[in-house]
């Protein structure tokens, strides 16, 4: 019978069947008819902010009989139009997953053999305290490193490190958008720059995959642009869903900067750029003219593999749409060692189009400070306050292990809140510049999210203390000494979420239900209690999160009650504000000292001797080798959701995309078992033979091939990309994701 055939087959061509492989029983078993009738009576709505990824969409959680039964988009949020993605919809599946960690645990066996005992919170706190005090005594407080995926509880997590006297606080960003942050800070003085996709008439994206790395308001924007007849050009070695919705230009990997510089070359030689804009709003353009004068389309054709006529045509058409055109600045951007210069060049070419502070262009996020100078906007200029006033922390004795903040070196431009997280395993293993002996991670899984998984594990094994705070027994947790179970976003308050864009926007995250597993806690509470146990209670001067939120909101003249009721706040009546929206000559200051756009960056000149982007040629794969690239898929978040039952059911595993001609030469057929070799490391996988990739590249979706057996659904399924990528620090401390070459053979 072929009745079920449409349920089978490859979603995204993953090669995995879409029928469930793992067991779970999260859904209440009810007669559908009776269930529907009952739901109408007793359904209540709690407005909150999603955390299935970190795009922070507003959501409406539907609660019945004390259970979250469904998640929906917030009906009043025009940015999402009431939509949420598959991950957001899967919220109840995470909440009631029996594989969540339910109690604090301390390791009893060797690191990595998976033996833990359940302990009380007090035992866990006492254990961590004793170990950290020993590390502090023996090596100094700076021997503690903390890492988290950027989130609202960082202030509490990092207070533990600050109180210990450690400067070594890291976000995940060096593995993701940090090169973009550096470029935006150098060019505009801060990174709070958004793009108005919906009103753009021409969008070019280098690899940014809007329709698989989903950020709902941005998907809505790009889709609005296309639906209104806008052009979308996608430069990517792989045929992504985004590429399928536009014109696919299969560029050679690691050559994007050549394409961008050639665009500038054409714009200058053909007089296609906005000279008046450049003269009024920027400094240093002459140095850019010099830098791109030999970067002709013919030269770029050699680098990128894109015919020179194509480069010229795209540039001309793009310039015709100015200023309502966007050259996308990227999302996950650690491709090469000098990726920050690609991001810089992208923004410079954008500015040549004068697409600054106009609809369909780039804009500064409109917080209160930006609105105050405008009399008609002052009424909307509200900002959140602090939830607590902390006493001064001890000054760290030593500088950071990654050199962040050191003037006259690349560390000068590494964003202080982020740091170069790839340095942590290096410092653990080499003791340079000094040893890290304790590592605490929160919502961050270095074993999967950082390059060279085995080296990360090797480093963790050398530590005196490894602590993980998360909702699952992640791969990092599996190698930890202490595991602290956080409750999910549906069960807790967080500090206020500031999601300001073209208007201020504040969002609440609040519990829809009380904790499902009684021994899980909100992160703020975990870090506050741990801090108190360590004798650092003075750094956590608040009673609970309601009190904290009330203070934050009071500064904006808002109350917790109204925020809980409405879920989010935007200034009533305020329209999206562009500084040059009405008058193209209007002041549009940047956050730099001279308030101008820094085409030439004095700061980068001081830090890296490259005040203007310089092209660096990266080798292309030799015959028989492939460039190894990775990407996101719509139903999973980075390393976060692969064990969530419903999402795992949709996509339990990944494959290696390989061009049909290349596969044919190797005798590899669709679905074959293969070995991918990066030299030092090898990985088993399944081949997806496709026309949708360059013959010199192979691709896999990120976040699979999980190492922790305690996530039974995701364990061992698919390819862990980061097992194959070596840990290399880029020029400004980013990891390097796209310069690894691999060979592929039949298993």
């Amino acid at each position: 019978m072929k009745r079920r055939d449409f349920l089978k087959g490859a979603l995204y061509g993953t090669g995995g069947t879409m029928i469930a492989l793992g067991g779970f029983g999260t859904l209440t078993k009810l007669d559908p008819k009776k269930a529907a009738a009952a739901e109408q009576d007793a359904l209540s709505t709690v407005f909150s902010t999603c955390e299935m990824c970190t795009s922070r969409c507003t959501v409406a959680l539907k609660v019945k009989n004390g259970k979250v039964v469904k998640a929906e988009g917030h009906p009043n949020d025009t940015s999402t139009g009431g939509s949420i993605c598959a991950r957001g919809n899967a919220a109840p599946s995470l909440l009631y997953d029996p594989e969540r960690i339910k109690k604090p645990m301390i390791r009893t066996g060797e690191r990595g053999d998976g033996k833990f005992k359940e302990v009380s919170w007090d035992e866990a706190y006492s254990y961590i305290t004793e170990k950290l005090k020993n590390v502090q005594k023996q090596y100094g407080g700076e021997a503690l490193a903390v890492t988290s995926r950027v989130n609202p509880n960082d202030i509490f997590f990092r207070s533990l490190a600050r109180a210990m006297g450690s400067p070594n606080m890291f976000s995940h960003e060096a593995t993701c958008p940090m090169t973009r942050t550096v470029a935006l800070e150098a060019t505009f003085g801060n990174p709070y720059i958004g793009a108005d996709y919906g009103n753009a008439k021409y969008i070019i994206t280098n690899g940014r995959n809007f329709f698989e790395g989903i950020h709902v308001p941005m998907v809505k924007g790009v889709m609005k642009s296309i639906s209104n007849g806008g052009k979308l050009v996608v430069l990517d070695p792989r045929f992504s869903v985004t590429a399928a919705k536009g014109e696919w230009v299969p560029i050679k990997g690691a050559t994007d900067l050549a394409f961008i510089m050639a665009m500038a070359n054409v714009m200058i030689s053909e007089n296609l750029y906005d000279k008046e804009f450049i003269a009024q709003y920027s400094v240093g353009f002459d140095k850019w003219v010099e830098a791109v004068k030999d970067k002709t389309p013919a030269w770029a054709e050699q680098e990128t593999g894109i015919p020179k006529d194509k480069i010229v045509q795209i540039t001309r058409d793009f310039a015709k749409a100015k200023p309502n055109c966007l050259l996308e600045y990227g999302w996950r951007t650690p491709w090469t060692g000098n990726d920050y210069q690609l991001r810089r060049a992208i923004m410079i070419v954008n500015m040549m189009m004068g697409n600054w502070e106009v609809p369909g262009g780039y804009f500064r996020k409109k917080g209160a400070a930006l609105l105050k100078p405008y009399p008609e906007l002052q009424q909307y200029a509200k900002s959140l306050g602090g939830g607590m006033v902390q006493p001064a922390f001890p000054k760290p004795v030593k500088g950071r292990i990654d050199g962040t903040g050191v003037k006259g070196t690349p560390g000068q431009v590494i964003p202080v809140p982020d740091g170069a997280v790839g340095q942590i395993p290096e410092s653990i293993l080499t003791g340079k510049p000094y040893p890290i002996k304790a590592w605490m991670v929160y919502r961050f899984n270095p074993v999967i999210s950082m390059p060279e998984s085995e080296r990360v594990i090797e480093a963790i094994k050398k530590l005196d203390l490894m602590v993980t705070c998360d909702v699952y027994m992640t791969d990092a947790a599996y190698y930890s000494d202490v595991v602290l179970p956080e409750c999910t976003y549906m069960e807790r308050y967080d500090p206020m979420i500031d999601n300001t864009g073209l208007t201020p926007k504040f969002q609440i995250r609040q519990p829809a239900v009380s904790v499902v597993y009684p021994d899980t806690k909100p992160a703020w509470q975990i870090f506050k209690e741990l801090g108190e146990k360590m004798g650092y209670g003075q750094y956590f001067p608040f009673k609970d999160m309601e009190e904290y939120l009330t203070k934050q909101l009071a500064a904006a003249g808002l109350t917790l009650a109204e925020m809980k009721e409405k879920g989010f706040w935007v200034p009533p009546g305020m329209k999206p504000f562009f500084m040059r929206g009405k008058d193209p000559k209007a002041p549009a200051p940047t956050a730099t000292a001279d308030q101008k756009i820094q085409i030439f960056s004095e700061e980068l000149e001081e830090a890296t001797k490259q005040g203007i982007p310089e092209y660096k040629h990266y080798p292309q794969p030799e015959n028989g080798k492939f460039r190894f690239i990775q990407g996101k898929v719509a139903v999973h978040t980075n390393a976060g959701t692969h064990n969530v039952p419903v999402l795992n059911e949709l996509m339990p595993t990944n494959t290696l995309w390989i061009n049909s001609v290349s596969a044919g030469k190797l005798g590899i057929k669709e679905g074959d078992s293969i070995i991918i070799s990066a030299g030092k490391y090898e990985h088993k996988g399944i081949a997806k033979v496709t026309e949708g990739i360059r013959p010199d590249s192979v691709f896999t979706y990120h976040g699979f091939g999980r190492i922790s057996p305690k996530m039974t659904r995701a364990y061992g399924k698919g390819i862990n990309d980061n097992k194959l990528i070596p840990n290399e620090l880029g020029e400004i401390g980013n990891v390097v994701s796209s310069t690894t070459f691999v060979t592929v053979r039949k298993a």
């Binding site: 490859a10 529907a36 929906e72 939509s83 949420i84 698989e212 639906s227 026309e691």
Partner: protein, 186 residues
């Protein structure tokens, strides 16, 4: 005039994100491993670098001349007052005639109820309450449009007056209420 609820799938706007797939599961308590709707990929077709790809939402086509209703020996499969094809769980004996009869492979035996199951347009919980079906309401790409086809002022009627809506397997004469608009699809 009686209403006729219909859905249009604007294929060019569907990004295959499966938000609809998951929303449906929770809205309708669909058991593990079973789906009332799903949106598989079609392609990539062609030869590198000239390739194309799109996604096609699959679900009950809400036929106005439905083979499942015809073959049902107990009248469990029926049209409701708004022309929506539904299954009365209490009348269904699980004989699977309808599963075989459906040209769209849209039906399955629900593991929990033992009855034939499929998309209901979220009739009871949403549409009869004036809300759009869960898939339509969550659609990230904005590809799904739902409403009364007979109301000339409805969004779907306007959309179908301007764009050609194709039905699946027209030759079966089932007169589906799901229209696929392929305009702009490469």
């Amino acid at each position: 005039m009686a209403k006729h609820y219909a859905m249009a799938v604007v294929v060019a706007k569907c990004i295959g994100c499966q938000a609809c797939t998951v929303a449906c599961k929770f809205q309708n308590n669909v058991p593990e491993g079973q789906y009332r709707t799903k949106t598989p990929v079609v392609g990539p077709k062609g030869t590198f670098p000239n390739v194309s790809m799109y996604f096609l939402k699959e679900a009950c086509q809400m036929c106005q001349d439905a083979p499942c209703v015809k073959v049902c020996p107990t009248k469990a499969s029926h049209y409701n007052e708004a022309g929506v094809v539904l299954v009365d769980v209490d009348k269904c004996v699980g004989c699977k005639y309808c599963l075989t009869a459906c040209p769209y492979d849209a039906r399955f035996i629900n593991k929990d109820t033992g009855a034939a199951d499929k998309c209901t347009f979220c009739w009871e919980a949403r549409v009869s309450q004036g809300q759009a079906p869960a898939c339509v309401s969550t659609c990230v790409g904005g590809a799904l449009v739902f409403g009364d086809e007979k109301d000339p002022n409805s969004e779907i009627a306007k959309l179908l007056s301007k764009n050609k809506g194709e039905v699946r397997k027209e030759e079966f004469g089932t007169r589906p209420s799901i229209y696929y608009i392929f305009q702009g699809v490469k």
